[in-house]
């Protein structure tokens, strides 16, 4: 059997005294879209930088396409494309030059680089900006160009660290749309985000991280089903309601001024609660990854 795209076992990353990645283990198969979710400081970037061979591991085992990141970084880097969290395009160069100059670092010859740059500019809808110096590009265009640049070596694995953070909804939609075509073409994609809805829709599998640890792993639907049940009933946190819930023997969690009750049979439970407790407000919605995160850590993902 072929080696998985990524194999991490007990992966550890320390910066001086701070443990940023605390013995994480996961496997990403080729062709999968795999997500890292977690709040700022969870360790997403640290993991991705180790996979990209730009940051040394402190401990554990980390292999990309069966090669150890410690032993064969140059070969691994030839096979991957990286979109880092911070913009690092060349501000002095045009859109086209950003791609062709970058191609040299992969030993792609000039003619081939020109061909690929042309294709990628078309694919990412940057034709009109081809010869524009990138300083005058919008944030969304810059991000699209950064992704285009990461594809110049036709990578088997694409690593995207928060590809849509800081962009407006329209620009974000455009990027997801392009990433979807990439996914259909069979690329293995690794991405981090703190937009849960986007991750839920786009990832085959994902891990939720906090404080350097992986809290859960699986497909978005599996994770929600296993951890939450189908639905969440939300009601107000007032003493009368709490008393009533306790009397009825309903399990609930309090978050701020809200009370959450998770269930697989929302209709029956809602009827029962309305009848017994008569809360001033009550609503039902599908359970989401956000709820899972809230339950696991006691706080929201984006705060």
């Amino acid at each position: 059997m072929a080696a998985p795209a990524i194999l991490a076992e007990g992966l550890l990353k320390r910066y001086d005294d701070l443990v940023a990645v605390d013995r994480c283990s996961f496997v990403v198969e080729e062709g999968e879209v795999f997500g890292f979710l977690g709040p700022n400081g969870a360790g997403k970037t640290s993991i991705m930088r180790m996979i990209a061979c730009v940051s040394p591991t402190t401990g554990g085992r980390l292999e990309v396409f069966g090669m150890s990141v410690d032993d064969r970084p140059r070969e691994i880097k030839a096979l991957i494309g990286v979109v880092s969290q911070e913009n690092n395009l060349d501000p002095d160069l045009t859109v086209y030059e950003n791609l062709t100059v970058f191609a040299r670092f992969f030993e792609i010859d000039r003619a081939e680089a020109a061909r690929r740059a042309g294709e990628l500019i078309g694919f990412f809808g940057l034709d009109e900006k081809r010869d524009t110096v990138i300083e005058s590009l919008s944030g969304g265009m810059k991000r699209r160009l950064t992704i285009a640049r990461a594809l110049i070596n036709r990578p088997r694995l694409v690593i995207l660290d928060e590809p849509t953070t800081g962009l407006d909804p329209q620009a974000r939609a455009l990027i997801w749309e392009r990433l979807r075509s990439l996914r259909s073409a069979g690329s293995t994609i690794l991405l981090s985000t703190h937009y849960l809805e986007e991750a839920e829709r786009f990832c085959d599998r994902l891990v939720i991280m906090d404080g350097g640890r992986i809290l859960v792993e699986g497909s978005p639907a599996e994770i929600v089903a296993a951890r939450m049940g189908r639905a969440v009933i939300e009601t107000v946190d007032d003493p009368a309601v709490i008393d009533c819930l306790e009397r009825e023997g309903v399990v609930f969690e309090r978050f701020g001024d809200l009370v959450h009750i998770t269930t697989d049979a929302p209709d029956a439970l809602v009827q029962r609660l309305v009848a017994a407790c008569n809360p001033s407000r009550l609503s039902v919605r599908n359970a989401t990854l956000e709820d899972v995160f809230l339950r696991l850590t006691g706080r929201g993902l984006r705060e």
Binding site: P56, N88, V101
Partner: protein, 257 residues
């Protein structure tokens, strides 16, 4: 340095800088040449009228090689301090490069070589002017070009050490005016080192790379085979190797986290 960490791929790092330079050379290259010419006119021809000959040489011919040496120093040093810092810190260029099959060592070597290239380009441009003015002798002065390469590598590496150390672009001013500017006047540039007390001469030749570049440059342009030229050349080569290794070490400490 780990084995296999420096391959010819550093030429792409150099090539990237060249590519950008070629788009902006008018802004980035004319100023240093004008600087040198102003110095030459003010010192060589202006001040020179009040200065007696030094060792049988008129003052303009005495300072011309020193001005070239200073240009060699500045060309590489300012490129790998302010220029490299902007690429490393503001543009995150190094981060983008090490995500390709290029290693951090190759990025550093490419940057130093690019600094040295600026020294060489400077020398290529200034030399014909000095020849036309009759201030330097041929063909020995053509050897200023390899001198520019070695001197440029050394000052490029020195600059990169400060870049690895500096917390911000402002603190880069300290090495400039605490080290580079004093070195500019204390290296036998505008007056002969021999006019200073012997211990000072020892210190200058022991520690100041520019003193060696000036001494070789002067030996080439006058030309007068100074007795210590070969010693100076050896000093420069050894220092260049050592400081390059130091630059790689310091930069890795800063960037590999």
């Amino acid at each position: 340095m780990t084995p296999g960490s420096v391959s010819w791929r550093f030429r792409h790092v150099w090539g990237r800088n060249l590519h950008i330079f070629l788009r902006t050379w008018k802004v980035s290259f004319l100023p240093p040449i004008f600087d040198s010419l102003f110095f030459l006119i003010a010192l060589g021809y202006g001040l020179g009228q009040f200065v007696q000959e030094i060792g049988g040489v008129d003052y303009a011919r005495f300072v011309a090689p020193a001005i070239v040496a200073i240009g060699i120093m500045n060309g590489a040093y300012y490129e790998t301090t302010y220029g490299s810092f902007v690429r490393m810190y503001y543009q995150k260029t190094f981060d983008a490069l090490v995500a390709t099959p290029v290693t951090i060592e190759e990025v550093i070597v490419g940057e130093i070589l690019w600094g040295a290239t600026k020294s060489v380009i400077y020398t290529v441009l200034i030399l014909p002017i000095l020849i036309l003015l009759g201030l330097v002798s041929l063909p020995s002065s053509l050897l200023l070009l390899p001198l520019a390469l070695v001197g440029g590598l050394l000052f490029g590496a020195i600059g990169l050490c400060f870049t690895a150390w500096t917390p911000s672009i402002d603190t880069l001013n300290y090495p400039s005016f605490l080290i580079i500017t004093p070195m500019m006047v204390l290296s036998g540039t505008f007056f002969p080192l021999e006019s200073l007390p012997l211990p000072v001469q020892y210190v200058a030749y022991g520690l100041l790379p520019l003193a060696h570049i000036v001494s070789i440059a002067r030996g080439l342009t006058l030309p007068a085979l100074a007795p210590f030229m070969l010693a100076s050349a050896a000093w420069l080569l050894v220092a260049t190797g050592l400081v390059m290794l130091l630059a790689i070490r310091l930069m890795k400490r800063r960037l590999v986290v």
